[in-house]
Amino acid sequence: MEKKKGIKVLLVDDEDVFRETTARQLAIRGFDVLTAESGEAALALVKNDPPEVVVLDLEMPGMHGSETFVEIKKNDPHVEVIILTGNTNVDSAIELIQQGIFDYLMKPINIDELLYKIEDAFTRKKLKEKQHYDFGM
């Protein structure tokens, strides 16, 4: 398996089994994976140890995923956020895309598909950073 070193992923989901299984699958595939079980925990984490890509659930006890997304972006506008949810809702999906999430994915998800999305999100982040820092675009 090709190592995806350098891509630091934060996985935020309140469902323990899903979070731990997915984290393990991503780690095996070479990602550097952090996990958080709530929006609040995620925010505390990103401040100290900023990830490059966040995979975020929406329906969680406490802070809702969409609010967590806004706060994460405030902390670091260049971080890319992928929503991965069990509650299908087109309106909220479109709104979140407009607000700048990288993609809106639905559970259940094939691990390879999630992996590709994380890679693509990482590429976009790098391109945007380069434009921003080199050319002020």
Binding site: G86, N87, I94, I97
Partner: protein, 875 residues
């Protein structure tokens, strides 16, 4: 299409003629390079999103064939995925060509609004009553109290028959219960997360949902309303505690042609102390394994079904059973069929024991035609404290009729009156108390099926030695053959192979989820009045019950033929019987879930934007999501071309392919399509890093072209005529750019626009380790021959492509072929075929009126391709 491609080339040419900007400074080049990279990244994301949309649309199209069951969750997940990816394509397009196609957003919003209106149709109840006494219920209130209780209200209040007193907890209460603490939202989430492969996860989803419901609190307003209704009930028994039968009365449960009844739980002999526990059990039974499987297989929408609950005074039954007011297996037979057993009617419905059958003719007076008295080994009776127990029948009762002739006639009379009231045959559950009073417990429409009678002269004597079972009860007609699979415990369900014959000891409702996957059903116990028999008839699966000794006589995995109408089972697969097999009903078609999908698909799948040259090929003419994706795909390719052309920086300018000599092939590098930075105007084949382009070229250069096929006079005239009409076609008159063939490449992507001779073809390929994103698209059109022969060539190519796994269609004068989702190696082998065909179908249109020549080329081309792939289809 010809027009489309000519114009596409024209647009390309126009780009060439545009003044090219002077070479920029190095920092500007760096900025340009970055902008280009960013656009190409958006382009790749756009292509991936496009593939996802097409994939989901293909899923919807498959579902529309109505052969496989699917749920609302499936439709919703696919539609959301399509919306999200179309919207992302619009965003990506915006990154590629800022502000150029912003009208797409309005088209998207309009289509999305129409889809939303179709998907979000959860019912709300305008009547806020949470509990209604049975005296106030009638059949106009089915929405509020469920079909079962609505009908029972009629029997009590309009037909004035004896019905236990009681009340109904309504659909409004169900809505309140499910809304509290986001329970409904959680249920929807669990369904979605389970995925479309719900069958496998059914046990898990079912138990998760039922646990959530059981651990929820009953909202206080429901609690108070029930307490009040119960106090009213107690007044009729002088304040004594009342034992209740708590029965499901869900929406759709009593609908014609559906056997919902029995899917849900009913609890007998419940004390008030335990009432709310059982109320929740019944709410949870909406999500039992058999209820979920049934809804899925019939295409019922979970959100259409509110679980109302009837609470009736418990009748301590001496006997009970089910009446069919007509023969369910023969619509010509209007005799009344009464199934009866000792104790509560539950064992008749559950099919776990044999029961008596009385057949009554509608003569005046009513005549009992037949009495089939069975040995009733067990009966279900009320426990003294609470609940029920299955106990052995006393020896002196076992073989005695469970009804007197008078009681039989009284029951038949009840059945006739109820049938007349509802104007159709009925399925009636009844019970008899110790005073001999008849109580009606439910009445619903009876479904009847046609019997299939074997021809009188059919000689089955030669198969007498293969006869395994004879004299069993036909509960669902038809003939089927399959391997025996015995099911004894719940866990066996998971291993049940599709198309097997289900063999069980008792005809329990728990086996119902297997019916849709079984070829036939054989049970040692049970009769045609049981729930499992109902489900078998509904799904058109032949079934034999009362097949004594089946579990020991039949061997697992042995192939048998079940002839339900004859009551027989034979060893082996008997064609002489199987010829009466009837087609399986396609239950999804016309179901609520199916209709929802059909309506939504109308806004997603049809393609109106066919011709890129038409003035209607514009963002505001997009009527469906398919239109939007088609439009974006077309424009994004053009935009990517134009960017490289309009900005002159060396590695983005097109270069001429050098393969032994300079070729008439031009290459535009989008990203990482070259092995290194190339200076000068040529690029050598070995400097190309594009995996799909190299595979295409492999096929293109593999076999040298024999030159044009021999032509007749007509062929020549045709070429001359068409060359006159279109100067660009005439070899001597080519403009500088007209004969160029363009590749746009990156490492994993390649698009080609080519014109060889007189035909045009375009090819697009995305090939990497990401199998799911892989695809090939190939379009072909044109030719110098007349229309008929050009069309002949299109079908000729189509046939070859289909032989190698492409999906191909010929529309008007063009061929469109696609392939997606295969692994890299497979995709590359198919690219070789496209390369080969691009060269070797040159001018083949000219011979399309000569069958012998067509056959010669078909053989030659496929032989070449097989050699090319190292495949030998006919060794």
């Amino acid at each position: 299409m010809l027009k489309a491609i000519t114009s596409f080339s024209r647009q390309l040419l126009a780009r060439f003629r545009e003044p090219v900007l002077p070479a920029p400074d190095p920092p500007e080049v760096e900025a340009l390079r970055l902008t280009f990279k960013s656009r190409f990244h958006s382009f790749k994301l756009l292509l991936a999103a496009n593939t996802r949309v097409l994939e989901s649309m293909a899923d919807l199209q498959r579902a529309l064939q109505g052969e496989e069951p699917f749920s609302t969750a499936f439709v919703q997940a696919r539609c959301t995925s399509i919306s999200v990816n179309v919207f992302r394509m619009i965003n990506d397009m915006e990154n590629i060509a800022p502000a150029k196609y912003s009208e797409l957003r309005q088209s998207f919003a309009a289509i999305q609004r129409r889809i939303d209106a179709l998907l979000s149709a959860r019912k709300h109840h305008s009547d806020p009553r949470l509990v209604i006494p049975l005296e106030a219920v009638n059949s106009d209130m089915a929405d509020l109290v469920g079909g079962k209780m609505a009908n029972l209200g009629d029997v009590k209040n309009r037909l004035h028959m004896r019905v236990p007193s009681g009340f109904v907890i309504t659909a409004a209460a169900h809505e309140m219960f499910m809304a509290a603490d986001g329970l409904q939202k959680e249920v929807d989430r669990l369904f979605q997360v389970a995925g479309s492969d719900a069958d496998r996860n059914l046990d898990l989803v079912s138990s998760q949902i039922r646990q959530r419901i059981m651990s929820a609190d009953v909202p206080e307003p429901i609690y108070l309303a029930v307490v009040e209704a119960y106090e009213q009930m107690k007044k009729q028994t002088n304040g004594q505690e009342v034992r209740m039968a708590v029965r499901s009365s869900a929406h759709g449960e009593d609908a014609e042609n559906s056997s919902f009844a029995g899917q849900y739980r009913s609890e007998l002999n419940v004390t008030f102390h335990q009432f709310f526990y059982y109320y929740k059990q019944i709410m949870a039974s909406k999500y039992s394994v058999q209820a979920i499987a049934y809804k899925l297989n019939r295409g019922f929408r979970d959100e259409d079904i509110a679980m109302c609950v009837g609470c009736l005074t418990m009748i301590d039954a001496v006997a009970g059973g089910v009446i069919y007011s007509k023969n369910p297996l023969d619509s010509w037979d209007d005799a009344i069929y009464i199934n009866s057993t000792w104790g509560l009617p539950k064992s008749v419905v559950d099919g776990d024991d044999l029961s008596d059958l009385f057949v009554v003719a509608r003569d005046e007076p009513l005549t009992i035609l037949r009495r089939e008295i069975q040995e009733k080994g067990y009966q279900i009776v009320c426990f003294e404290d609470e609940g029920c127990i299955r106990k052995q029948t006393r020896d002196e009762l076992k073989n005695r009729p469970s009804l007197t002739d008078d009681q039989v006639r009284m029951l038949a009379d009840h059945a006739i009156r109820i049938e007349q009231y509802y104007e159709g045959p009925q399925d009636i559950e009844w019970t008899l108390n110790s005073n001999g009073d008849i109580f009606i417990l439910q009445s619903r429409p009876l479904q009847q099926v046609e019997s299939i009678q074997p021809p009188a002269d059919l000689d089955l004597q030669p198969f007498a030695t293969s006869l395994l079972i004879d004299g069993a009860i036909n509960v669902s007609p038809g003939v089927a053959s399959g391997k025996v699979f015995k099911v004894a415990k719940r866990v066996d369900i998971l291993q049940f192979p599709e198309g097997s014959v289900l063999v069980v000891e008792q005809a329990l409702p728990a086996w119902a989820p297997l019916i849709a996957r079984a070829a036939a059903v054989i049970s040692e116990q049970g009769g045609f009045a049981g729930h499992l028999a109902n489900v078998a008839r509904e799904f058109g699966v032949p079934a034999l019950f009362g097949a004594r000794g089946a579990m020991t006589t039949l061997e697992n995995k042995e192939i048998i033929t079940v002839a339900a109408d004859l009551g027989r089972v034979y060893r082996g697969s008997l064609d002489v019987l199987l010829q009466w097999r009837r087609p399986t009903p396609r239950l999804m078609i016309g179901s609520p879930v199916y209709e929802m999908l059909r309506a939504v698909s109308d806004h997603i799948i049809p393609l109106h934007l066919l011709d890129p040259e038409s003035p209607d090929f514009s963002p505001n003419k997009c009527q469906t999501f398919h239109d939007i994706t088609r439009f974006i795909h077309e424009k994004s390719v053009l935009e990517m071309f134009s960017f490289g052309k309009n900005h002159s920086f060396s590695e983005r300018s097109s270069k001429q392919l050098y393969y032994h000599v300079p070729m008439n092939w031009w290459i535009l590098n989008l990203d990482d399509g070259y092995t290194h930075e190339i200076k000068g105007k040529y690029v050598k084949l070995e400097e190309i890093a594009s995996i799909p382009m190299l595979a295409f070229w492999d096929g293109f250069a593999a076999v040298s072209w024999d030159g044009p096929p021999a032509m007749d006079g007509r062929g020549l005239t045709s070429i001359m005529f068409r060359s006159t009409m279109n100067p660009a076609l005439a070899p001597g008159m080519r403009s500088k750019y007209a004969d160029r063939n363009y590749f746009m490449i990156s490492k994993h992507y390649c698009t080609l626009s080519s014109r060889l001779g007189y035909h045009f073809s375009t090819m697009e390929a995305m090939v990497s380790e990401r199998s799911r994103e892989n695809y090939l698209g190939f379009k072909f059109k044109g030719g110098a021959a007349d229309f008929k022969r050009c069309l002949g060539r299109l079908h000729f190519i189509k046939e070859i492509l289909e032989r190698y796994g492409f999906q191909a269609v010929v529309n008007a004068d063009n061929l469109n072929a696609r392939m997606e989702g295969h692994d890299m190696e497979y995709m590359l082998s198919r690219l070789k075929i496209l390369g080969y065909l691009t060269l070797h179908t040159r001018q083949l249109d000219m011979i399309m009126n000569n069958t012998a020549a067509v056959n010669y080329y078909l053989t030659k081309l496929t032989k070449d391709i097989d050699t090319l792939l190292g495949e030998h289809l006919n060794p």
